[in-house]
Symmetry: C2
Subunit: 454 residues, 2 copies
């Protein structure tokens, strides 16, 4: 019988990240400076990022060596296992072979540290002693707190107030790793004070937390800003996961047919699938399926055009699938999938029909999560459960057609801090929301009318 | 450079548990029937356990084959990694080589499923369709819920009421795996109803929860009882961890000098060290150090004599280190180390001076945990942090003496559900308790005066 888990030795761990930019099937539209309407130049980003990361953001080298120090830290948990989900296959009665790549084994419990560690390293090299960032429910904030702790960098996290109050565990994790975590709006920034003056009890929002972190970084000599998804260099750091899958499938003597991942800002999904895109372009029959919530259907129902990355219109304009930067999705439990836009690199692949997308209701997603937990044992995060639902659907399709396909699920994180949402599901308290077209149309009115090249 | 993690392939996973009973350096005193004062016979245990487990409890076979079905489930997460703690070594500046065996990778987050899965299997083989157990903070209950889910057995958990109310996450985990979890005292049992009649708001206790689970199992034809520590067969199932360590150290080309583990009921520590005991008896220079809280010092300050396993005096009498079955330790955060007694097999080794013991205050334990989290990344459970404190102390001793020893820490579980205790530590709110001798003397007055053989 084949192994239930395929491990790589540390010497087999990939030594370079894969940059998809030179291999794109169509030109990537540049980010635009909102003030000038012209493409960004590297210097525009210097108040926020060290030059090394800006170079990665715009770089055209196919392979970027992973620094030794980053490899050393990756090895605290990497290479991560690729599991063969025998029990799930049996439960479904499918002829498909189902694998899942387990990124939940990182200390922060998700794929996020893959880029957090890299970003902390390059900041440290650049002499940066303090990094500011925002976090919603806390996945990204805790990953950056971990990374900063390992590089002895001060970490300032602006955490959306309502999560800060309602979900203390992620905050406590950040503090255990030595980060300073403030509820946003805070009185540390102009942006925060302005809101507090109007509404001292404001619950905050991710858009506002971004504004606070950006202002913090831009106004202090010792501080840079860090983002956990969307940007090109973030997606590149995540390719370590897909590169490992490639080696692990080779060890298993298998070949990818379908890859299922969940899509928030896109870095998790991109990490899994980018290393296989060239194979598909070269003619291999591979499908990539991105799973998103019906409550935030940026890949299945949104337009592909220039928009801001944040509600406050502070970021550069990015060409991406967007529901509009003022769009506020219904409060579903998969907080990490509630972003209004999607990474420009991933959006381009969706636009080019290289990546498929599918949207799910909450209840069917949790049903899949519980099926998984009761067969494979592990408890997935609600975000990850979207990928699992997608993988189960693909396996059931194989059952119908009798096809013995190889399905890989991106298991992006565990659900240890999301058990309240399981509770809501088991008690029948989860709502399935269908987003009216008018809601989307309304938010799209705020999107600036820009075409590039002009 | 040596690897940061030593993996075993699944084909290298041990195929048999190690039963230490034939290799003991002194005779193990039998459990006594409290009614007759005579040694238990297998039939005494039949209302509670299937005969296969009773045979393991009393067995003298050195090796017991692990059933294929149990191996198959172990492989959902086993073999678990042995990490080399390079970053911690560097932080301490020690010449010692520090390893830690990572049992936190199981779906329930600790070593507990190693025996839960085995027990569920043997019950299933015996036609049992329902298992009852008790749980304090929920580690054991969630492990058994997982195991029962995988074998399609009904699982009834009596959870101490105060934990049920204050720590909902472990309960939600159990329910996600399909277990029924009731706050104890409950109105399901005579024992529970008796307490509720006197005090409807009773916070419950582990002793009472045991009584409820035992009564439930004994009074229903379809139901057996399951215990998560203390008993011989439970300790035997845990030896999978030490057997793996043995192979992993051989792969690393290293040889054990000191093994540090935390001690609650003793199954975690026994699992790590029993496979090395024969080597020590054969003359190898190995030290085993059990770490316990000063608030519950059963190995460092208690007597070795016959006592009940539970407050309610329902269990057989066991010869063990005991603080008295009516002893109630101060409310420290390492809930899993608050048991008044210790496994008879481990107690015997302590009595024979084969195992050392050391007691720690809470604050020094959490200080060690934070040092670990900020170097190795992973966040240990408060129980596990006792083992880490012990390992750090041993490494600092090596630093003083210049000895390049090989230290292995038993990393029994993660602290994802214990972050509130980290918070209390970081805010300086943890109390260090020294137990007055009178408190121990007082509890010991309730211990029956029994010597065996008479």
């Amino acid at each position: 019988m084949a192994d239930s888990k395929i491990f790589l030795s540390e010497s087999e761990m990939p030594q370079a990240w894969y940059n998809i930019q030179p291999d794109l099937p169509a030109p990537l539209m540049p980010p635009l400076n909102p003030a000038t309407g012209e493409p960004l130049v590297p210097e525009d980003l210097l108040p926020l990022f060290p030059m090394s990361l800006i170079e990665q953001e715009m770089g055209m080298e196919r392979w970027v060596d992973i620094p030794d120090e980053v490899l050393r830290i990756y090895k605290l948990w990497r290479p991560s296992p690729l599991h063969r989900a025998f029990a799930l296959e049996e439960e479904l009665g499918t002829p498909a072979r189902i694998y899942y790549k387990n990124e939940s084994v990182s200390p922060a419990g998700s794929h996020k540290p893959n880029t957090a560690v890299a970003q902390a390293y390059y900041n440290k090299q650049d002499g940066v002693t303090r990094i500011a960032t925002e976090t919603g429910a806390g996945q990204w904030g805790s990953a950056l707190a971990l990374a900063c702790s390992l590089f002895d960098i001060e970490c300032q996290v602006y955490m959306v107030r309502i999560s800060y109050d309602q979900k203390p565990y992620r905050r406590l994790m950040m503090e255990t790793w030595g980060a300073q975590c403030l509820p946003s709006p805070s009185n540390q920034t102009e942006a925060g004070r302005r809101i507090l003056a109007r509404d001292p009890d404001s619950p905050g929002s991710l858009g506002l937390a971004i504004s606070e972190a950006v202002e913090d970084a831009a106004s202090r000599e010792d501080t840079k800003y860090s983002l956990g998804s969307v940007l090109n260099h973030v997606l590149m750091h995540q390719t370590i996961t897909g590169l490992e899958i490639k080696k692990q499938l080779a060890i298993a003597g298998d070949k990818l047919d379908v890859l299922c991942g969940c899509v928030g800002g896109g870095s998790n999904f991109a990490g899994f699938c980018f290393p296989f895109v060239k194979d598909k372009l070269d003619g291999q029959d591979i499908r990539f399926v991105g799973a998103e919530p019906r409550a935030c259907p940026k890949l299945t129902r949104a337009q592909y055009r220039y928009d801001f990355g944040d509600n406050a219109q502070l970021t550069p304009l990015l060409k991406m699938h967007t529901l509009g930067h003022s769009f506020i999705p219904p409060p579903i439990h998969a907080g990490g999938l509630r972003y209004h836009g999607d990474a420009p690199l991933l959006s381009l692949l969706v636009d080019q029909k290289l990546v498929e997308a599918r949207a799910y209701y909450q209840n069917e997603v949790f049903e899949a999560a519980v099926t998984f937990a009761r067969t494979e044992g592990h408890l997935p995060a609600p975000e990850t459960a979207h990928a699992i639902k997608c993988g189960i659907d693909e396996a059931l399709r194989c059952k119908e057609t009798g096809k013995e396909e190889c399905i890989v699920i991106g298991y992006s994180g565990h659900g240890h801090f999301d058990l309240a949402s399981y509770d809501a599901y088991l008690r029948g308290q989860l709502e399935d929301v269908d987003l009216p077209q008018e809601t989307i149309d309304e938010a799209m009115k705020d999107v600036p009318d820009i075409t590039w090249p002009r």
